[in-house]
Symmetry: C2
Subunit: 136 residues, 2 copies
DNA sequence: TCCGGAAATTAGACAAAGTCCAGATTGCTG
DNA sequence: CAGCAATCTGGACTTTGTCTAATTTCCGGA
């Protein structure tokens, strides 16, 4: 699958998002790379040539994508949030010293023995993060 | 076990930390409560009566405790880091709307099927966070 | 085509968490 | 008591993210 700008409009529409120019650019930045990007990185990518999209729009758009289930939020670094275009079930491997973040397919991972949820609560998600460090 | 200020000096020493007045107060704030606290909360607790400890010291001290393995860092909220006086193996339950964070004993939880670590890497820790939300 | 309103975007002010630094304090140790 | 290293401090600064009021864009109907 190739993620072109043209594809993006359809992808956005299918998630009930009005495909504007800026939203297409931001979606394209995330999906064409298939990488975890911070808001800052998205801004930098989208505005490489000329300044095209404002900070407010980048933040608004990422939050919108999140609400509509187009991307996931990954919280591993205390200083910034990453956005993940992969919404299929998976976990994360975080290399502490380099900051590199990669996926672990959830297919073969099994988590058992979790206690029942507190009353009146529903699980929103289970995040599993494996933190690794370069052997010294 | 009762965590008095007097105990704290020994606890700090046993972790190779010089027990100063400020460090004892900060350790006491965390251990007497056995709760997850943010740097801000620690500051507020330590400075309830008179202002006694500066922001810089609170941050420096928490980082020192972290390095020495006296506390753990819990990253669940994109806006602030929590510090956890419980260093025994356990996971976390995070109530998204209230921000309440509680422990899940690791004893009965089993995680299997994780892929091997990348070459030259060692696991620093595995964080499992169950995010829950009030049923609406 | 023109008009009006709703949705989207924008710049820039603002807020909050955390870092940094240069100077002051503390607490040994001789 | 002097000297020295460790610690602490206020405050300036940085970074991530939010907010707001003003503008721009888009679109449907007359």
């Amino acid at each position: 699958m190739h993620y072109t700008r043209d594809n993006m409009a359809g992808l956005l529409r299918s998630h009930d998002i009005n495909p504007t120019h800026q939203r297409i650019e931001i979606a394209h930045a995330l999906f064409s790379r298939q990488e975890h990007l911070s808001a800052d990185q998205v801004m930098a990518i989208v505005n490489t040539r000329h300044s095209e999209t404002s900070k407010a729009t980048v933040y608004n758009t990422l939050k919108l994508f999140l609400e509509k289930g187009l991307v996931r939020e990954v919280i591993v670094d205390p200083s910034k949030v990453f956005f993940d275009p992969n919404t299929s079930p998976h976990h994360h491997l975080y290399e502490v010293d380099s900051g590199k973040l990669s996926d672990i397919d959830a297919e073969h991972v099994r988590i058992s023995g979790l206690p029942p949820m507190p009353d009146g609560m529903v699980t929103e998600g289970i995040d599993l993060i494996v933190r690794v460090r370069r052997k010294s």
